[in-house]
C-alpha cells in the first residue's frame, strides 16, 4: 500500500468542474482532461476499425465473398489494421489510463510537460485526420504493413496520405513516451522509491522506452516509402539497387516492439486489478517489474521472426527464433506471478476482475501459439495463414483490449465519480469472452488447415469454420456495444462512487472521485510499498496508513 496522509483541506472542485467551456477542454494542460480527450478519440477510431472488421467478417460468410469485391476487401483489411494498430491499440491504455493515472499514482500534480502532452493529443488527431481522409478518398490496399515494392511502386491507392498520417501520429507516441519517462524519473513524491512504484508505472516505463526508441524508425521508414513513391527513386526498388527486404527489417524493427507497446500497458492494468480483487500483494513484485523492462529490451531483438520465409539468412533465422523463445520467459514470469497472486487470495469476481482473468487465459493462448510461430519449421507451414491472425488477435484483442476494458471499468469510478452497473458489466465481460473465443479460435483451425490470410474468397471446405467465426464476431460486437451504452448511462445515473469503491491500495484512491484539478492538496509522502493489502482490515481501513507521517507543505497551497 502506498499509504498517504494529507492535511484535511477544504474540498476542491473536481477536474471535471474546473471550467465548462469548450476551450477549457481543448486547451487544457490537465493530464486528466487530456486523458478524457484521448478516450473519446480512440473510441471513435475503435468504432471505425470495428466497422471495417464487421464488413470483412460478413464478406467471409460465403466462400466467394459475394458481399465485397476483392479490391474493396483489400482496402477493408488495410483500414482495419491501420486504424486499430496506430489509432486504437498503441494509444489505448497509455494515453488514457496512463495519462490519467501516472501522476496520481506517484503523487505528482501533473506530468512533467503538460503542454507537450496536449500537443501530442493534437498530433494524434491531426495524424488521424490524414489517415481517415485517405480512407474516405478511396482507401489503401497494401495491408497495414506497407510492404515494398508493392506500396512504393505498384499500389495506386492513397499510400502517401495514410503514411503521412501515421508519421504525424508517431510523433504523438514519441512525445507521450518521453513525457512518461521524465515524469517517472523526476516527479515521484517523497518516499515513492522505484521499489515502491506501482507495477502499472513500471510497465508504462517499459512501454515508454519502446515508444521513444522504436517509433522514430517507423517514421523514417515510412518517410522513405513516401519519398520513393513521390520522386520515383529506388531505395526499396531492386532495379535501382534498392532492397525490398530492407523495408521489412526496418518496419519490423518498429512493429515487433510495437506489439509490446500494445501488451505491456495491458499487463500494467492486470497487475493492479489482480492485486486489488485477490486482496493480496502481487507475488514477486521485483520480478514482475523487471519482466516489464526485460520484455521491452529483448523485444527489440526479435523482429526477424516476421521474416523467416522472406529470404532472410538461415542463420539469422536461428538467432531470431531463439531470441523469440527468450522473450517468452519474462512474459511467462508475469503470468505465473499473477497466478501465484491469486492463490489463496480472497477473490471477488467483479467486472474488472473478470476481464483480467480473461486476459490471463487468452494471453496464455496467444503467447503459446506465438512460440509455435517462432519455431522455424512450423512457421513455414503456418506463415501468412489464419493461424497468424488468430495468434495476434489473442494477444491484441484477447490481451490488450480485454485489459483496456478491465482498466476502464476499474478506474471508471475514479475518472467519472460514478459507478457503472455491475451486473451489466459482468454480463458484457462474459459476452465478450465468449464472442472473442468463438471468433478467433476457429481461425487457428483454419490456419492449421491452410487457409491463407488476406484473401477475399476461400475454398468451400473452410466455410463452416468461417461462419462460426463471423457468428462469434457478431456476439463480440454486442459485447462491445453494451459497455458503450451503460458507461455513458452511468455518467448521469450511475451511483456516486466515493473515493475508494474497491477499497484498493494505490495513491490514486486517496484523492476524491473525480480527482481535484491539482490532484493532491498537499504533496503526499509515501511510507509503504505498493500492494500492502495484507495490512488492510476487512472493512478497508488501512492498518499502517493511520500512522502519522510528516507532511511537506505544498507550495502556494495548490
Amino acid at each position: 500500500m502506498t499509504s498517504v496522509v494529507y492535511r484535511p483541506a477544504p474540498p476542491k472542485p473536481s477536474y471535471l468542474a474546473a471550467g465548462h467551456r469548450v476551450t477549457s477542454w481543448l486547451l487544457t494542460h490537465d493530464h486528466k482532461r487530456i486523458a478524457v480527450l484521448y478516450m473519446i478519440s480512440i473510441t471513435g477510431f475503435f468504432i471505425i476499425g470495428g466497422i471495417a472488421a464487421t464488413l470483412m467478417r460478413l464478406s467471409l460468410l460465403t466462400p466467394d465473398g459475394s458481399l465485397t469485391t476483392a479490391d474493396f476487401y483489400n482496402r477493408l483489411f488495410t483500414m482495419h489494421g491501420v486504424v486499430m494498430v496506430w489509432f486504437f491499440l498503441i494509444p489505448s491504455i497509455p494515453t488514457t489510463l496512463g495519462n490519467f493515472l501516472i501522476p496520481l499514482m506517484i503523487g505528482a500534480r501533473d506530468l512533467a510537460f503538460p503542454r507537450l502532452n496536449l500537443l501530442s493529443w493534437y498530433l494524434f488527431v491531426i495524424g488521424g485526420i490524414f489517415t481517415i481522409s485517405a480512407l474516405v478518398a478511396g482507401g489503401v490496399d497494401t495491408g497495414w504493413t506497407f510492404y515494398t515494392p508493392y506500396s512504393s511502386s505498384f499500389s495506386n491507392t492513397h499510400v502517401v496520405l495514410t503514411v503521412v498520417g501515421i508519421f504525424i501520429a508517431g510523433f504523438s507516441s514519441i512525445l507521450t513516451g518521453l513525457n512518461f519517462i521524465v515524469t517517472l524519473h523526476s516527479m515521484r513524491a517523497p518516499g515513492m522509491y522505484w521499489r515502491r512504484l506501482p507495477l502499472f508505472c513500471w510497465s508504462h516505463y517499459a512501454t515508454s522506452i519502446i515508444l521513444v526508441l522504436a517509433t522514430p524508425v517507423l517514421a523514417m521508414t515510412l518517410m522513405m516509402v513516401a519519398v520513393e513513391r513521390i520522386f520515383r527513386v529506388g531505395i526499396f526498388d531492386p532495379a535501382l539497387g534498392g532492397d525490398p527486404l530492407l523495408f521489412q527489417h526496418l518496419f519490423w524493427f518498429y512493429s515487433h516492439p510495437a506489439v509490446y507497446i500494445m501488451i505491456l500497458p495491458g499487463m500494467a492494468v492486470v497487475s493492479e486489478v489482480i492485486a486489488c480483487f485477490a486482496r493480496k500483494r502481487v507475488f514477486g513484485y521485483g520480478f514482475v517489474a523487471g519482466a516489464s523492462i526485460a520484455i521491452a529490451l529483448v523485444g527489440f531483438l526479435v523482429w526477424g521472426h516476421h521474416m523467416f520465409v522472406a529470404g532472410m539468412s538461415m542463420y539469422g533465422g536461428f538467432i531470431f527464433s531463439f531470441l523469440s523463445f527468450v522473450v517468452a520467459v519474462p512474459s511467462a514470469v508475469k503470468v505465473f506471478n499473477w497466478t501465484a497472486t491469486l492463490y489463496k487470495g480472497s477473490i471477488s469476481l467483479t467486472t474488472p476482475m473478470l476481464y483480467a482473468l480473461g486476459f490471463i487465459g487468452l494471453f496464455v493462448v496467444g503467447g503459446l501459439t506465438g512460440l509455435f510461430l517462432a519455431t522455424l519449421a512450423l512457421d513455414v507451414h503456418l506463415t501468412d495463414t489464419y493461424f497468424v491472425i488468430a495468434h495476434f488477435h489473442y494477444i491484441m484483442v484477447g490481451g490488450a483490449v480485454m485489459a483496456y476494458m478491465a482498466g476502464l471499468h476499474f478506474w471508471w469510478p475514479k475518472i467519472t465519480g460514478r459507478m457503472y452497473p455491475e451486473w451489466a458489466g459482468r454480463i458484457a465481460a462474459l459476452i465478450i469472452f465468449a464472442g472473442f473465443n468463438l471468433t478467433f479460435f476457429p481461425q487457428f483451425l483454419l490456419g492449421y488447415l491452410g487457409m491463407p490470410r488476406r484473401y477475399h474468397s476461400y475454398a468451400p471446405e473452410f466455410q463452416v469454420l468461417n461462419v462460426m467465426s463471423t457468428a462469434g464476431a457478431s456476439i463480440l460486437a454486442v459485447g462491445y456495444v453494451m459497455p458503450l451504452i451503460y458507461l455513458l448511462w452511468s455518467l448521469k445515473w450511475g451511483a456516486i462512487a466515493g473515493d475508494n469503491p474497491w477499497k484498493a491500495m494505490g495513491m490514486e484512491w486517496t484523492v476524491s472521485s473525480p480527482p481535484p484539478k491539482e490532484n493532491f492538496a498537499t504533496t503526499p509522502i509515501v511510507n509503504e510499498e505498493a500492494y500492502a493489502y495484507d495490512t488492510m482490515t476487512p472493512q478497508g481501513g488501512g492498518g499502517r496508513s493511520i500512522m502519522p507521517v510528516a507532511i511537506k507543505p505544498n507550495r502556494g497551497g495548490a
Binding site: 501533473d110 512533467a112 510537460f113 514519441i174 518521453l178 521524465v182 523526476s186 523514417m220 539497387g241 530492407l246
Partner: protein, 221 residues
C-alpha cells in the same frame, strides 16, 4: 544557483522546486535526443547496408561530392558548437550580454554552414546528380556512372536535407532566444531552455560529424 536564489523564478505549477524542473527539462532533452539518434540511425543503417551491397558505386558517388566543402562545413559547425557552449556557460553565470553575443555567433556560423551546403547543392545540380530532378547516368566528364550512384545520391540528399532541417529548427530557436534575451530577467528565467537548446545544437553538430566521413570520405570500395 544559491547565490542567485533571490532572482530564481518560481517553478511551473507541476514542479516542487526549480531543481526538479531543471532535472526534468534536461532529462526530457536527452530522451528526445535518444529518439533522434534512432531517427537518423535508421537512415544511416540503410545507407550502410546498401553500401555493403554496392561498394564500387557508393565509393564512386562519394568521389562526386566536394569533400573540401564538407570539410570546411565541419570546421564551421564545430566552431558554432564552441560558441554555443560559451552561450550556455554565460547563461549559467547569468550574463545576458554574453549569452546574446555567443548565440549570434552560433547562428551566424550555422547560416554560413547552410549557405555552403546550398552552394554544394547548386554544384551537384550542375553535375546532374540530383535524383528525381536532373540526375543523369553520364557524368559531366563523359564517363558512364554506375547505376547505383543514384541510390547513393538519394541517401546523401535525404540525410543532408534532414540534417539541414534540424539546423533550421535550431536556428529558429536560437533566434527567438537571442531576441528575447534582451529583456531583463529573461536569461535568469530561461536557463533550462538555453541548456536544452545547447544540447540540441551539439547533437545536430555530432550528426554532421558522423555524416561527413560516411558520405564524403569513404571514397574507396
Amino acid at each position: 544557483m544559491t547565490s542567485h536564489a533571490a532572482v530564481e523564478p518560481p517553478p511551473a505549477f507541476q514542479f516542487e522546486d526549480a531543481a526538479q524542473q531543471s532535472n526534468a527539462a534536461t532529462l526530457g532533452m536527452w530522451a528526445f535526443l535518444a529518439s533522434e539518434v534512432l531517427f537518423f540511425g535508421s537512415l544511416v543503417v540503410s545507407l550502410m547496408i546498401c553500401r555493403l551491397r554496392w561498394p564500387q558505386a557508393f565509393a564512386e558517388g562519394a568521389k562526386e561530392l566536394k569533400w573540401w566543402l564538407g570539410a570546411i562545413n565541419t570546421a564551421v559547425l564545430l566552431g558554432s558548437s564552441y560558441a554555443m557552449a560559451l552561450a550556455v556557460e554565460a547563461a549559467e553565470k547569468q550574463i545576458a550580454k554574453r549569452v546574446i553575443r555567443n548565440l549570434l555567433i552560433t547562428a551566424s556560423l550555422g547560416i554560413i554552414f547552410l549557405a555552403i551546403k546550398g552552394t554544394e547543392y547548386g554544384l551537384e545540380y550542375h553535375d546532374h546528380l540530383i535524383p528525381a530532378i536532373n540526375y543523369s547516368a553520364v557524368a559531366p566528364d563523359g564517363a558512364e556512372r554506375l547505376p547505383q550512384v543514384q541510390l547513393f545520391m538519394i541517401f546523401y540528399f535525404l540525410l543532408t536535407l534532414l540534417h539541414a532541417f534540424h539546423m533550421l529548427i535550431g536556428l529558429t530557436g536560437i533566434g527567438i532566444i537571442a531576441i528575447r534575451a534582451r529583456r531583463p530577467g529573461y536569461v535568469e528565467r530561461s536557463k533550462n531552455m538555453i541548456d536544452g537548446l545547447g544540447l540540441y545544437w551539439h547533437f545536430v553538430d555530432i550528426v554532421w560529424v558522423f555524416l561527413f566521413p560516411m558520405l564524403y570520405l569513404l571514397r574507396h570500395p
